[in-house]
């Protein structure tokens, strides 16, 4: 039998590969098993990265068509070459996955392409193309992530009825795209295809898009998306899909029940959420506890109820975000190396990469009200920002929420151009227990979009200057 590993990470996504790299850095003997064939997990292969490649390219396409003429730039013969677009996306993905292999080598992580299964605490069977063998590990980290949640009564074929995975590789631009679920994935991929020419209708079970988003921010976001041409059917559910020639016939009912209607679509994107992925992992045999939603239960040191087995990322509780998984992976590796790993769950940003982007961190107004926290609000629209004005990107606003007494920043909610990059400033301030005044008194370059954050921060204590 081979040597015992200090840590074996099952799953090579952002949580898993970062956990393995950090463990390697800290001098642990570590292996990372992934069955996909390439490392990077959902994020790199069929999630964050390919969708961003498509979002960026399609955004530029729309900008060239819509905005260029307004800025005096004439474009003739603008068109989409879908094959070229997909090649661009595939190239970005393949370069980044190769990057992980390089990082593994650099940090002495043994990457194993195969399927890992926990046989017993400390023992994992690995099935690779060369056969099955057993390896032993002092600690096992489950980082198997999540998978597309299925929609009852609808079977995903990844051709016409697709999940996010299929929506990234459609062979042609659908005339009518029906998106089920107005969450991050549905709205991002819906935006991609709308920009490329699809008529996009989004059906959402709840009465609002992006539940969990700050209410005012969500409403503003929906207004902007509607203005761009996306249609919404809220408080509605899809109960059945039938093929009707080349097209699909979709039965939609009010969420509360009532008369059904029928919609026609060429492609349906099912994006109602994701569920923890623990299939064939041997968790039941090992006795690892899971909650009613199938998530692996851990303590705040990521330890499961079984000694020597840990879990991080989408497979445990918390928002299903790559960077949350990444932070947990790092913290878990540090804890396993005897250090003080820690994740501050109050300061994890969340971004929707549409145009305009949506970026949030911390508590929403609704959460603060429910918790009985007295807070102050500072808000500033991009229409009053010089840079946004000259860029013709004036949709959206920045809202900062701070404790009424201590002025400590409790949350930030933004809709607007590039807010996904800008949120970092507020996250940093929150990580350092900063106040709205601290942001307001920090010099911001002019003219930049980030001045909007400063003016909003000023607004918390009523001294917004540029409006």
């Amino acid at each position: 039998m081979a040597d015992t590993y200090d840590v074996v990470v099952i799953g090579g996504g952002p949580g898993g590969y970062n956990c393995a790299i950090r463990a390697g850095q800290l001098g642990l003997k570590v292996a990372c098993i992934d069955k996909r064939g390439v490392f990077g997990g959902t994020c790199l292969n069929v999630g964050c990265i390919p969708s961003k490649a498509l979002l960026h390219a399609s955004e530029l396409y729309e900008e060239a068509g819509e905005h260029f003429p307004k800025m005096g730039i004439e474009v003739k013969g603008l068109s989409v070459n879908l094959k070229g677009l997909m090649a661009h996306k595939d190239k970005a993905v393949s370069e980044l996955t190769k990057g992980i292999e390089f990082l593994f080598k650099k940090n002495k992580v043994e990457g194993i392409v195969g399927e890992g299964k926990i046989v017993a605490p400390g023992t994992i069977s690995v099935t690779t193309k060369d056969g099955t063998r057993e390896i032993t590990a002092k600690n096992i980290v489950i980082a198997t992530g999540s998978d597309v949640a299925p929609l009852k009564g609808v079977t995903i074929d990844e051709k016409q009825i697709v999940s996010s995975t299929g929506a990234l590789t459609l062979p042609e631009i659908p005339k009518r795209l029906l998106v089920v679920g107005a969450g991050v994935i549905g709205l991002e991929l819906g935006s991609v295809w709308r920009r490329l020419g699809s008529e996009v209708t989004v059906i959402e079970f709840l009465d609002r898009i992006c539940p969990g988003l700050d209410l005012e921010t969500g409403k503003q976001f929906q207004r902007i998306l509607t203005k761009q041409g996306m249609s919404f059917k809220l408080s509605a559910k899809v109960t059945g899909v039938t093929k009707k020639g080349k097209a699909l016939s979709v039965t939609v009912e009010p969420a509360a029940g009532g008369t059904a209607e029928t919609l026609e679509a060429d492609v349906i994107l099912v994006a109602i959420g994701r569920r923890p992925y623990t299939d064939n992992l041997g968790l039941d045999e090992a006795g690892v506890k899971r909650d009613e939603r199938g998530r692996v239960v851990t303590d705040h040191h990521y330890a499961t109820n079984v000694k020597g087995i840990y879990a991080i990322g989408d497979v445990r509780e918390g928002p299903m975000l790559a960077h949350k998984a990444e932070d947990e992976g790092v913290a878990a590796a540090e804890i396993l190396a005897g250090r003080a790993g820690h994740v501050n769950y109050d300061a994890i940003p969340s971004v929707i990469y549409t145009y305009p982007e949506v970026a949030t961190v911390g508590k929403t107004e609704e959460e603060l009200k429910a918790a009985g926290v007295e807070y102050k609000v500072g808000k500033f629209p991009f229409t009053a920002n010089a840079r946004a004005k000259s860029n013709l990107t004036t949709d959206g606003f920045v809202k900062i929420l701070a404790d009424a007494k201590t002025d400590r920043v409790l949350g930030a909610h933004m809709v607007g151009p590039d807010v996904g990059n800008m949120i970092g400033e507020v996250v940093l301030a929150m990580e350092f227990s900063g106040s709205s005044e601290d942001i307001a008194r920090t010099c911001h370059a002019h003219p930049t979009l980030s001045e909007t954050i400063r003016q909003a921060a000023m607004g918390v204590e009523g001294w917004t200057m540029q409006m």
Partner: protein
């Protein structure tokens, strides 16, 4: 060129000081390393020497001001050294505003080095409200003071103030009393003594000692001793040695409580309380078990002299595993000394008085001294404390025991 006079680093735990007397006036000629100003800290008074020879150009921290380590006290104009001929030149340049403007911003408090400097909001509050952020326990990363912390400190200060006003208001101002601010040393003494009483379970055991033999030994050898060692033979050396012998037997008296642990010290750093005009200081004779009585006597003599001149160094006052306090020099017959925390024992020596005592079956006049041992009952048992004191008594009554290590 102007050179700033800065508050020097005075030791690990010292972050601020009170400006005492300026020994030079603005415009005075100074030479390098000449003392310019006195600083009083929690522990010790220090003199700040001139950083260069020249003219004392500016005094930015007046007597009574509280200053941080590194803060600017004033400036010396270099070069124009002492000589009268140089004076006019210096005068011509003094009104230069630039030098002052440069010095000023640095005179602001410098934060404790281990804590990150306060964020902008806190800096504003500190400046507007004259709030010393160094005294606030920060809740941010690495103890950084957040705006919430600063606001809470302001709130706490507001609550304190009315009380203070009320209490001083009830008392009519009288020319029959004088109100002076407590010196820093006095404040520290007050704080430490009270802290000691709050924390330790203090009690005192007494005994008395017949000083005949030590006194006889001393008078028969004092001339030879002084001739050889250049220092007078007193009783302190005997008591230090007597205590060390007893401490070795009863280690708990030489121990301290640290959290849930007891730390027994296998070294004997004996603090000797010295009274000065400013108050009590306790310089420490290090590894006193390894030094001769002559060495101890000369160390104590040196401390006493320098303590009265406020020239003790901070490190000479830190640590100490056991303390001896002699109230006898002022005539005290009996007292209960207060522990010098975190130590767990303190010996009180008292006046030597001729008293009738029963020796065998006869009454004799003997030079007697009462001894007191205050101890921390949390870690020293009564039996141990009493045994310790009896051992000190025996060692003094029969000093050859010390010689023979009995």
């Amino acid at each position: 060129m102007s050179i700033e006079i800065k508050v020097p680093v005075m030791g690990e735990s010292v972050t601020e000081a009170t400006v005492g007397r300026w020994l030079k006036k603005k415009g005075d000629a100074v030479t390098q390393d000449e003392p310019l100003v006195e600083l009083e800290t929690d522990k010790v008074a220090v003199e700040v020497p001139a950083p260069a020879s020249g003219i004392l150009e500016d005094i930015s921290a007046e007597a009574g001001a509280t200053v941080k380590v590194g803060a600017v006290l004033g400036a010396v104009k270099e070069g124009a050294a002492g000589a009268a001929a140089a004076k006019p030149a210096a005068k011509a340049e003094t009104p230069k505003p630039a030098a002052k403007a440069e010095a000023k911003p640095e005179a602001k408090p410098v934060a404790k080095s281990e804590v990150p400097p306060p964020p902008p909001s806190v800096k504003r509050i500190a400046e507007e409200q004259k709030l010393d952020t160094a005294t606030i326990d920060g809740s941010g990363k690495h103890g950084q003071v957040t705006k919430g912390d600063a606001l809470a400190a302001l709130e706490a200060r507001k609550k304190e103030k009315p009380v203070a006003v009320a209490s001083s208001g009830t008392r009519a101002k009288s020319d029959r009393e004088e109100r002076v601010p407590m010196t820093r040393l006095r404040k520290t003494i007050a704080l430490r003594l009270k802290e000691s009483q709050d924390i330790a379970a203090q009690l005192t055991t007494f005994n008395e000692v017949d000083m005949s033999k030590v006194m006889a030994l001393r008078s028969s050898t004092k001339d030879a001793f002084e001739k050889k060692h250049g220092v007078k033979l007193g009783f302190m050396g005997f008591f230090v040695k007597a205590c060390i012998a007893a401490l070795k037997e009863i280690p708990s008296v030489n121990a301290e409580i640290d959290g849930d642990d007891i730390v027994y010290k296998n070294y004997y750093d004996i603090g000797v309380a010295v009274s000065t005009e400013r108050g009590l200081v306790v310089p420490v004779v290090r590894d006193a078990d390894a030094i001769s009585i002559a060495g101890i006597e000369s160390a104590i003599g040196d401390f006493g002299g320098r303590a009265r001149e406020s020239k003790l160094k901070l490190e000479e006052l830190l640590g100490g595993t056991f303390t001896i306090s002699n109230g006898g020099v002022f005539g005290s017959l009996m007292s209960t000394p207060i522990l010098n925390m975190p130590q767990s024992g303190i010996l009180g020596m008292h006046k030597i008085q001729n008293r009738p005592v029963a020796v065998g079956d006869k009454i004799e006049i003997r030079p007697m001294m009462y001894l007191a041992l205050s101890y921390d009952h949390r870690l020293v048992d009564g039996r141990e404390a009493v045994t310790f004191l009896v051992r000190v008594k025996e060692n003094i009554e029969d000093p050859q025991r010390l010689l023979l290590d009995l």
